[in-house]
């Protein structure tokens, strides 16, 4: 009987530590996703249509991830936090890209050369064409 109790304790400890580990990982991912969201906002993602949509989607995924975590679906929460983080990073990068393209357009127009080969306007149109799921 004593032997059985010891085994139960060990098994319980392992399960508890695994659960704590998953929870800690999700907490880390949540922080990481939050940081990515904040960085995208600081970059001005909300001032461009597509990055703004990505930002909104990332917030939504953060909420869904938190809910999944509350429901005990740690693996689902992990993936949702990862999606939120990736969407926020993409929003930030698209904002940077659009800003760079705008600077390029201004530089060419200052030169009086409007025949720039640089893509102008919303540089993410191409991406939407193939992979947009927003």
């Amino acid at each position: 009987m004593h032997q059985l109790n010891r085994r139960f304790v060990v098994l319980f400890s392992l399960l508890a530590s695994a659960g704590c580990g998953a929870a800690q990982m999700n907490e880390s991912q949540q922080r990481s996703a939050s940081y990515a969201l904040h960085a995208a906002e600081l970059e001005g993602a909300s001032h461009h249509p597509r990055p703004a949509r990505l930002l909104a989607l990332a917030r939504l995924e953060m909420m869904r991830a938190a809910r999944a975590s509350d429901d005990g679906d740690e693996s689902g929460a992990t993936l949702l936090f990862e999606r939120a983080k990736t969407d926020a990073e993409l929003a930030r990068q698209l904002t940077r890209t659009l800003d760079e393209q705008e600077k390029t357009r201004v530089a060419w127009s200052k030169l009086g050369n409007n025949e720039s080969s640089s893509p102008s306007g919303d540089g993410d149109q191409e991406h939407n064409h193939r992979g947009g799921t927003l």
Binding site: S75, G76, L79, L80, E82, R83, T86, D87, E89, L90, Q93, L94, R96, T97, E100, Q101, K103, T104, A107, W108, K110, L111, N113, S116, S117, S118, P119, G123, D124, E126, H127, R130, G131, T133
Partner: protein, 313 residues
């Protein structure tokens, strides 16, 4: 009789099972899209600019494929496929930003180079203009030379109103007038007799061989020979003035026989009616040289440098 298609119940069941199996193993739309976007990113500059992001996309795509193998169309497959697509897009966005930055650099370099380009274009324009002017001058010179060869008389464009008679040439070490030279001088004498107020300057030259003093004396003798001939044709003495320029002011190269023959000459410059000394080209430097030559001639008036003393001419 109407044709009827009879479907066996077992066959229908088999078809339904096959269709169900196909649907179950077909990738989700998310996975298919992720594959397409990843392939597109892999074939673009993103592979060079953002290889780390592309590796993450590849890893997510593999996870999606694995999830598809375990449980087709599961939420896990869709989530990993979504991540693969987004990470591929992230890599392409970075590549686009990199392209934009490169273009900015290009534009900045062009802007920096613009003043130089404009200067270069202006210089090219000026050069083209000068080239045209030069060609025009060469054409005019060629025409003038043609006329000179044909007639032996040239009206200088550089000094209006001056007349230069050429075609009076001499043999080596000789001041003797050839028949052709006499013919030229006959025409000149007629002109001078017809225009009695016209004064002329007779300039003698030599080629570059031999001592300077000797050439100076020889050129003086050549000028004197022309003067004597014109006097013999009745031209008044006070209308004629001689100058000896030696080997100075060659009209041709002295390193060829034909060039030297052209330099052994007498030129006759008709001054204006006012009597001012004439110059066929009129640069101030040339006038200075001529004044010096005249001074030199005066110094040599004693005649101690006789051509006959030289072994060369």
């Amino acid at each position: 009789m109407n044709a009827r298609i009879i479907v066996h119940p077992l066959g229908a069941l088999g078809l339904a099972m096959i269709a169900s199996a196909c649907q179950a193993t077909a990738p989700s739309p998310e996975l298919q899209t992720a594959r397409d976007v990843y392939l597109k990113a892999e074939g673009s500059r993103a592979a060079m600019v953002a290889p780390a992001d592309l590796r993450e996309a590849e890893q997510a795509l593999k996870s999606a494929e694995a999830a598809h193998q375990r449980a087709p169309r599961s939420q896990t497959e869709r989530s990993y496929a979504y991540l693969a697509m987004r990470k591929s897009q992230l890599a392409m966005a970075k590549a686009d930003a990199d392209t934009a930055r490169a273009e900015q650099l290009h534009a900045a370099q062009l802007a920096a180079a613009r003043p130089y380009v404009e200067l270069l274009e202006e210089t090219r324009g000026e050069l083209a203009e000068r080239e045209r002017a030069l060609q025009e001058s060469e054409r005019a010179l060629a025409e003038a030379n043609g006329a000179r060869e044909e007639l032996g008389v040239e009206q200088s464009g550089a000094a209006e109103g001056q007349l230069t008679i050429s075609g009076v040439f001499f043999e080596t070490e000789s001041a003797e007038l050839s028949p052709e030279a006499q013919s030229q001088l006959d025409r000149l004498a007629d002109d001078l007799l017809a225009h009695e107020d016209q004064r002329i300057v007779i300039r003698g030259y030599a080629d570059a061989r031999g001592p300077r003093r000797y050439n100076q004396a020889l050129s003086r003798e050549r000028a004197q020979a022309v003067r004597e001939y014109l006097l013999s044709r009745g031209v008044a003495e006070d209308r004629l003035r001689t100058e000896a320029l030696g080997k100075r002011l060659p009209v041709a190269r002295n390193d060829t026989a034909s060039g030297r023959a052209n330099n052994r000459r007498v030129e006759i410059v008709a001054a204006r009616a006012s009597g001012a000394a004439a110059d066929d080209t009129a640069p101030s430097a040339r006038r200075r040289q001529e004044r010096q030559a005249t001074d030199q001639e005066r110094q040599n008036v004693s005649g101690k440098d006789k051509p006959g003393n030289s072994p060369l001419r």
